[in-house]
């Protein structure tokens, strides 16, 4: 029990070390480093709150989305899922951090950077048994015209990598001029 707790703490500290290093590498100034670092640290902390509320047994997808998105104004956020999905603890952090990067991106450059912009997240499961897949559709609309980024940001790299590697699924980002879209496809047996 104590050994497991120690392991969890050490892993979390290593995650924080990584966030610091990656954020520094991409920061344009000390101020921007501080802002982005604290923001990511808080997101990590919130995924832990979510797990603590559920006794570190599972985390709810809907709660994860609400936690990230609702501070940007409930009236602009639509969450549509046939039913909630219970995520295993080891899936909550990567998915939570990926959703955080999408939210930050929307707040800085996308639909949540203007008064009128909207974010809709739809999710559903399909298939059966080992091939059952959770598909999460992130759709931004009514925001500023989207242009594809010129360089691969840390956020994009993290989203693609963590969905592919940590959760053995996929992430597809589409820089549609009408609004960013992202489709995450995740095997349910990894969640």
């Amino acid at each position: 029990m104590l050994g497991e707790l120690n392991h969890r703490v050490k892993n979390t500290l290593t995650t924080v070390q990584s966030i610091a290093r990656q954020t520094l590498r991409h920061a344009s100034s000390p101020e921007s480093f501080q802002e982005r670092f604290e923001d990511r640290l808080l997101a990590l902390s919130q995924t832990h709150n979510l797990l603590t509320n559920e006794n570190w047994e599972r985390g709810s997808l809907r709660a994860l989305l609400r936690q990230e998105l609702l501070p940007h104004g409930a009236e602009r956020i639509t969450l549509q899922g046939t039913q909630d999905v219970h995520l295993a603890p080891r899936a909550v952090v990567p998915l939570g951090m990926a959703l955080h990067e999408l939210t930050t991106n929307a707040a800085k450059y996308g639909a949540l950077s203007t008064e009128q912009g909207l974010v809709t997240v739809r999710w559903s499961a399909s298939g059966s048994g080992a091939s059952e897949v959770l598909r999460i559709n992130w759709i931004e609309s009514d925001g500023p015209a989207v242009t594809p980024p010129t360089k691969h940001s840390f956020g994009t790299r993290l989203i693609e990598r963590s969905m592919t590697k940590d959760l053995q699924g996929s992430a597809a980002l589409e820089f549609d001029p009408a609004g960013l879209r992202c489709v995450l496809e995740l095997p349910l047996n990894q969640l």
């Binding site: 703490v9 590498r25 993290l158």
Partner: protein, 120 residues
């Protein structure tokens, strides 16, 4: 030129944040990360398919122990180090002679452990 420059590395780590940290450190040391696995089965496949000189292994990989990977590397005489939140206690007894880097770690410690592994 250090003993590490130009080395082709395999990284086995199931958390992207940590994997990206290790890979960045290795790149700073002049190594080339040629294979990265987040599952034991994937690592075993990559060892078969890729020409690697050394490896950095997390111990607990998505609920599985990494030791089958360590065995395969040992059989092929490919040097490796463990990087783990469990410290040396988490490493199986017959692998305790291999360097263990306890998480979290500074780049200098990973460099030292890896240098020790490859120079013997």
């Amino acid at each position: 030129m250090s003993a590490l420059s130009g080395l082709r590395l395999l990284v086995v780590e199931d958390e992207s944040h940590v994997a990206m940290l290790v890979e960045d450190m290795l790149a700073d040391m002049g190594c080339e990360v040629v294979a990265s696995a987040a599952r034991v089965s994937e690592a075993l496949r990559l060892i078969e398919a890729t020409d690697i000189d050394a490896a950095v292994l997390d111990v607990n990989v998505a609920g599985e122990k990494v030791f089958p990977v360590a065995e395969k590397l040992r059989d092929r005489k490919i040097p490796f180090v463990f990087a783990t939140g469990y410290g040396a206690d988490g490493v199986r007894e017959d692998f305790r002679t291999h360097p263990v880097v306890p998480k979290p770690f500074p780049q200098s410690q990973l460099r030292k452990a890896l240098t020790k592994a490859v120079t013997g």
